[in-house]
């Protein structure tokens, strides 16, 4: 089975990279892009039957830094 973990900076945490991307979009004429937040996607190739709780543990222990990041698990 496969799962995808989406890691994003929490709301309220400044995202300087997203802000730089927003600037670049603006300079290309995409003025409608009012805000950009950049995160990362991690794809996991897992043993069949791995529980979502187990993937949650992976996120808590390593994949996300929950001080500044939130995560969302998608089972594929």
């Amino acid at each position: 089975m496969k799962a995808r973990v989406h890691v994003m900076l929490k709301d309220g945490v400044l995202d300087p990279q997203g802000e730089a991307v927003r600037h670049a979009l603006g300079s290309l004429g995409f003025d409608e892009a009012r805000g950009v937040r950049q995160g990362k996607v991690i794809e996991l190739d897992l043993e069949d039957g791995t529980s979502e709780a187990r993937i949650g543990e992976m996120c808590e222990k390593l994949l996300a830094n929950t001080v500044i990041e939130s995560y969302r698990i998608e089972i594929l």
Partner: protein
């Protein structure tokens, strides 16, 4: 006085840190990250600067989960001393020994230059050789030194005198100009600037030396 300097794949300030500690009188052992325990009788653990594990995932994230860091956390929980510099500071926040996180610099640029710092707490075992509010010049060299923490944590750090150093002119966007913080018991220090790069006149500065001599003195008194 025994110190252990942990070496990760990608550490590049480990030997500089060992030189600075030895000059202050420490007996230094280098410890590879795959070790599961610290050498017996170690008073101080140094987590050096560099790019452990290529900064993959997040700076310090993988190092913080390496076998030796489990032993470093135990050492700190038993009241042992830990000094984390630059990548070492990132490892300390990733391991939970210090609060907050180090994010990408505000201007998204790697910054490598000597910057003025203010000593905010001259009462800790790491800073007793400085005067309160003393201005010192220490090099920084990082891409991810932008200290971030929630408002409660920031208030607690400043209320409890746990901000050891601030930037006189904030180079990276750090909240409250924070350059280095102490643990609750004052025995764990994490800082982005590199005192070991300013501990010998041949390196162009000696303002970092007092940090190592302060530590040596607090162990001599103990």
């Amino acid at each position: 006085m025994k110190a252990a300097v942990i070496v990760f794949p990608g550490s590049n300030c480990d030997r500089d840190l060992a030189v600075a500690l030895r000059a202050a009188g420490f007996d230094v052992t280098m410890v590879w990250h795959k070790e599961t325990g610290l050498p017996g009788g170690v008073d101080l653990v140094g987590l050096p600067g560099g790019f452990s594990f290529g900064d993959y995932l997040r700076c310090g994230a993988i190092a913080a989960r390496s076998p030796i860091v489990g032993a470093v956390v135990d050492h700190a929980k038993k009241g042992g001393y830990v000094l984390g510099i630059c990548n070492g500071f990132q490892i300390l926040t990733e391991s939970g020994l210090l609060p907050g996180a180090l994010m990408r610099n505000r201007e998204l640029k790697y910054i490598c230059r000597t910057v003025p710092l203010i000593v905010k707490n001259a009462d800790s075992p790491f800073t007793s050789g400085y005067r309160d509010r003393q201005a010192i010049d220490i090099p920084i060299a990082h891409h991810d030194g932008n200290y971030s923490a929630d408002a409660d944590t920031l208030a607690r750090l400043s209320g409890e005198g746990r901000v050891a150093f601030t930037y006189a002119a904030n180079p990276n966007g750090s909240r409250n100009d924070i350059a280095g913080i102490l643990s609750e018991n004052g025995r764990v220090l994490g800082m982005m600037p590199h005192p070991e790069r300013a501990a010998d006149p041949a390196l162009g500065g000696t303002d970092g030396r007092a940090l190592f001599t302060s530590l040596a003195q607090s162990f001599a008194e103990a």
